[in-house]
């Protein structure tokens, strides 16, 4: 079932691209970009939702409300849900696109692995997956050679007698860049924990991805690299990338005096309008909203 619905179409699409461009390395790159483009609306939705949540959670008045009900979880949850509803923010807004994307990512990965069949048994299984309109004889064997790499083997560029894992190094660098520019901004105080967590993640993720790229076949590492670069480009295209975090000569994104737009007070807690200096970088949509301070009646 999983193979028929997910893996087989992905495998055949990858094979079709391989046939068209006659190069498996380029096919992996194109295939990954294509899938990333197809899932872009979901990615964008996920990013927007998580940014909206971040903006909301960094809001001082929201924090104040949460602080107020810190000893009454039920009431806190109630107030929280009301705020979400008022602001049109869904706490599950970023989960659903991720859940939908997960089988796609798995299918993409498994498709690449199936096409990189390197034993007779794997070739037999690949032959069975190929749709009848794709002539298996024209597809097999897959040329695994791409630039200096054998896509079926872990990548090591031989310089003298030393094998340098170029792709693994690139995967570490791009994962680090991706984590860094996507890292949400944090404030002091209560957000110290969050900052520490982000910092750990920024170190852990690249190392883990790099280890996987070092251990497994170059074809998979090429997929990781392409996926990272595409994500960075997508993120930058959405205007969310903060390059100052990795390029010291780039000016940090402007942070300004903004007025919270969230009407947080509950029935027994009337608050006056406040102007709060936020270090949070506003999203394009919320920045536009913030130009018009909302007055409470």
């Amino acid at each position: 079932m999983w193979d028929t619905i997910i893996v087989q179409p992905f495998t055949n699409l990858l094979l079709l691209i391989t046939m068209l461009v006659n190069n498996f390395g380029i096919a992996i790159i194109l295939f990954t970009i294509l899938i990333k483009l197809i899932t872009y609306p979901l990615t964008a939705k996920q990013l927007k939702s998580s940014m909206a949540m971040q903006d909301l959670q960094n809001d001082p008045q929201y924090k104040k409300t949460m602080e107020k009900y810190k000893d009454n979880k039920e009431k806190a949850a109630e107030a929280q849900m009301r705020i979400y509803k008022e602001k049109g923010v869904s706490p599950f807004g970023s989960c659903l696109p991720t859940l939908i994307q997960f089988p796609v990512i798995l299918g993409l990965y498994q498709g690449i692995m199936r096409v990189m069949a390197s034993t007779p048994l794997e070739l037999v299984k690949l032959e069975r997956l190929v749709y009848p309109f794709l002539d298996v004889n024209k597809i097999l064997p897959i040329q695994n050679r791409f630039l200096w790499m054998d896509l079926g083997q872990p990548d090591r560029m031989l310089i003298g007698s030393i094998g340098i894992p170029i792709l693994a190094i690139l995967v570490v660098i791009t994962t680090f860049i991706q984590s860094k520019i996507m890292q949400p901004p944090t404030q002091g105080g209560a957000n110290d924990q969050s900052a520490a967590m982000n910092s750990s993640m920024t170190m852990m993720m690249p190392l883990m991805m790099g280890w996987m790229a070092y251990q497994f076949s170059a074809g998979l590492a090429l997929y990781f690299l392409t996926s990272n670069v595409t994500t960075i480009v997508q993120y930058a295209a959405m205007g969310r990338a903060d390059w100052s975090k990795i390029l010291p000569w780039v000016q940090p994104k402007e942070t300004g005096k903004i007025t919270p737009v969230i009407d947080l007070e509950d029935d027994d807690d009337e608050e006056e309008e406040q102007e709060v200096v936020k270090t949070v970088k506003p999203s394009a949509r919320s920045a536009a909203k913030r130009k018009r301070p909302k007055r409470k009646k």
Binding site: S118, L121, V136
Partner: protein, 359 residues
């Protein structure tokens, strides 16, 4: 680290494990590689090479002593003169002492790809094709490299040695003929599709027979390289994965759809056609002077006797992707997706011992 960090790291590790199939080290799936000698049966599968007593299937020796996730092997070894030659998926090729596989004589580690094909002994060199697109000739005495042939695609089929010539099936739609002494390519015969199995050489006629994924079976003269005939064009033939056999002046082979086809080896003219009743990857296996076996992918193995009334069928509990091996009066059947790795039968179809590795 706070709990949230631990949770996220655990989630990442889980995602990594799901993506990578939860496996560390060499990741490849294949069928057991089996070699039968007068006294022993060698089974290469996953992390170990097992040496079994041929009479009862009891384990005599194992390599390595302690299984490692970074080591896997599927290529059938070659055993001769008290030594065993075998390659692995950690890019190494070994010569070990028969009777104690952990007693290494030498290890060749210059390859950059897996050894998946059964090697072939040619005098004082052992020919070991690798997936790094090279065919290595290694000195049997020292383990030093004698010569290397650089090809275009990964080599996964067993080479055939005929005098001073080495015949190698290549995935780049060719059959290569190399000089045994120098490793130089003498000539190549073009095929329509990738060649995944070893060719068959007929001593009597000096012809080579080989099938390919290009839905064909061809015959060429080993001395001159001239193609004798090609069978397949205009025929309803599927891909041919396995080596053909010669029996009773007939060239017999199967295609993946299950067709069993007999040709005149001299002319390529079709003599008869039959159907195994299911997909066949392993091809036909010769049972000297008696007939031949065809093992279907689903485990149904049928013996077709030369004499009338001698046919039999057994159901092997597993999937069969590689040829059963016949040694004396025993048939050894390597399987996957089964309780055991190897099942044995007599040449009259009576089940014998089976081998499952200790867990």
């Amino acid at each position: 680290m706070n709990k949230k960090v631990i949770r996220i790291v655990a989630l990442l590790v889980l995602a990594g494990a799901v993506l990578t199939g939860c496996a560390a080290g060499v990741r490849a799936e294949s069928t057991p590689g089996v070699t039968v000698t007068d006294d022993y049966v060698y089974v290469a599968y996953m992390n170990s090479l097992y040496q079994l007593d041929r009479l009862n299937g009891s384990q005599v020796s194992i390599f390595p002593e302690k299984a490692s996730a970074n080591l896997a092997m599927y290529a059938p070894p070659v055993a001769e003169n008290g030594y065993v030659y075998f390659g692995d998926l950690a890019n190494e090729f070994h010569k070990a002492t028969a009777g104690n596989l952990t007693q290494m004589v030498w290890t060749f580690d210059q390859a950059r790809g897996w050894f998946q094909a059964k090697p072939a002994l040619a005098g004082d060199i052992v020919i070991a094709p690798s997936t790094d697109r090279n065919v290595y000739a290694i000195r049997t005495e020292s383990g030093n490299l004698d010569w290397v042939y650089e090809g275009e695609y990964a080599f996964i089929a067993e080479p055939v040695i005929v005098g001073d010539k080495i015949i190698v099936s290549a995935q780049d739609r060719h059959v290569l003929v190399l000089d045994r002494i120098s490793g130089q390519e003498l000539y190549r015969t073009e095929m329509t599709g990738a060649v995944l199995s070893a060719p068959l050489y007929d001593v009597e006629t000096g012809s080579v027979f080989v099938g390919s994924l290009g839905r064909e079976m061809i015959s060429f003269d080993l001395e001159t390289g001239a193609v004798n005939w090609v069978y397949g064009e205009g025929k309803d033939l599927s891909t041919v994965w396995a080596t053909p056999i010669l029996l009773d002046n007939q060239l017999i082979f199967t295609d993946t759809s299950g067709k069993i086809i007999a040709l005149d080896p001299k002319t390529g003219e079709e003599l008869w056609q039959n159907h195994a009743g299911g997909r066949v990857i392993a091809g036909a296996t010769l049972v000297e002077d008696k007939g031949f076996l065809v093992a279907r992918e689903d485990g149904t193995m049928t013996f077709y006797a030369l004499t009338q009334g001698g046919d039999w069928t057994v159901t092997v509990p597993g999937n069969i992707y590689s040829k059963p091996i016949v040694g004396g009066n025993q048939i050894f059947v390597p399987v996957v997706k089964a309780d055991a790795l190897l099942y044995t039968y007599s040449t009259s179809g009576v089940p014998g011992w089976s081998f499952s590795p200790a867990k």
